[in-house]
Amino acid sequence: MQDLRYAKVSTVDDAVAALQAGGSTARVLAGGTDVIVQARARTRAIDMLIDIKGIDEVLQVAFDADGGLTIGAAAPCYRIYGDADVREHYPALIDCSTLIGGTGVQGRASLGGNLCNSSPSGDSIPAMIVLEGRAEIAGPNGRRTVPVEDFCTGPGRNVLEPGELLVSIHFPAPAPNSGAAFLRFIPRNEMDIAVVNAATQLRFDGDTVSWARVSLGATAPTPLFVTAAGEALVGAALSDETIAAAAAASKAAASPIDDMRGSIKQRKHLSAVYTQRTIAIAAERARG
């Protein structure tokens, strides 16, 4: 491995100071399942890892029936899917946190790290988008929040400025009669990078869909918040027609690439199929 220094911090302020002192080649270390690989393979110039796991705030998984859920940026997947409140109120986060890597990776990898790695195929990002996640960022000028759908700006790129780090992600309390789901398409059962992934959240007023959000991954330079797909569902009961319209909107929004995992044609098709399937599961969960 290339030369690499290590520092552990116990406050957010110290993390910001260490990031500023370290400059552009310093990186935050949470679970390390992406950043250690990148440092070793030299795919990114990294000469300093700043371990934030000494900060209580970045390790929290805290639910409040009124305030919602706050997940610290470094809270590992196993703690998220092991949390009774998350299981009960945010099953879409269970969908994604149980299929990122294998069990050993889930012992370390965090949703915050998945977001900051900003891969177009990041498996937790579509679920966080439909759940209205807001990223809390700390930096030299204090704190700011950014909706998850605005966080990634390109493959491996995001809104974090020099000296800034992601502290936590906050999700509002689930609305009554709502449900959300995430699915990933891979050609095997486990341990692969998404060809396409998708998430949907629905809220119902009686039989009418009163609110909807749809998100797609691995279909564009960043995970997509597909507003047109949600709009196609709102104002009517779910029907074959509205679901087909949402699927068509997802297919239209997808602008994928051809690569070893899938072709443009396949990914466009899967965008529609996985929109339909996540709508069905979200609706089932909303009905309880």
């Binding site: 491995m1 690499l4 069990t103 050993g104 341990m191």
Partner: protein, 160 residues
């Protein structure tokens, strides 16, 4: 530049101080600095599970942990499974069920399976396969490994 760091951790029950480089992974520190050779390097990027260890009881890939991170922690490798001359029921079952051929993946499977049985003493076949999905074996085709884990689970249930 990298720094020299003394890391104090409990490795397989023994309090140990190791002098590591700040760029060492836990895998490198265990093998090259602490002489714990049961832990294997396969892919070195978190895909194969050959370097699986328990870190404070939690299954991790030691290639994706920095050595400096384990200060004050408890690390268990395959060497920590047997008690004196008695193999762990998982090790005994792997032998009896021929759940290994070349053996490189075996320490990782044993540690990963121990983590499973610690958490879930009677897992279904599906749960075993899903839990072990991050451990690759190119010899056995997995069926014998799954069977060995089932047998070890039965043994542990009847003896406990």
């Amino acid at each position: 530049m990298s720094d020299k760091i003394i890391v104090s951790a409990t490795i397989n029950g023994d309090p140990t101080d190791i002098l590591v480089s700040s760029r060492d992974s836990l895998l490198e520190a265990l093998r090259e600095r602490a002489g714990v050779l049961g832990v294997k390097e396969g892919c070195n990027d978190g895909n194969c599970g050959a370097c699986s260890v328990l870190l404070d009881g939690r299954l991790v890939n030691s290639c994706l942990v920095m050595a400096a991170e384990v200060e004050g922690s408890d690390v268990t490798t395959v060497e920590g499974l047997a008690e004196a001359d008695h193999l762990h029921p998982l090790q005994q079952a792997f032998l009896e069920d021929a759940a290994l051929q070349c053996g490189i993946c075996t320490p990782g499977f044993l540690v990963a399976a121990k983590a499973l049985l610690d958490e879930n003493p009677s897992p279904s076949e599906h749960e075993i396969r899903y839990w072990l999905a991050g451990n690759l074996c190119r010899c056995t085709g997995y069926d014998k490994i799954v069977r060995a884990v089932q047998h070890a689970a039965e043994t542990l249930q009847t003896t406990s």
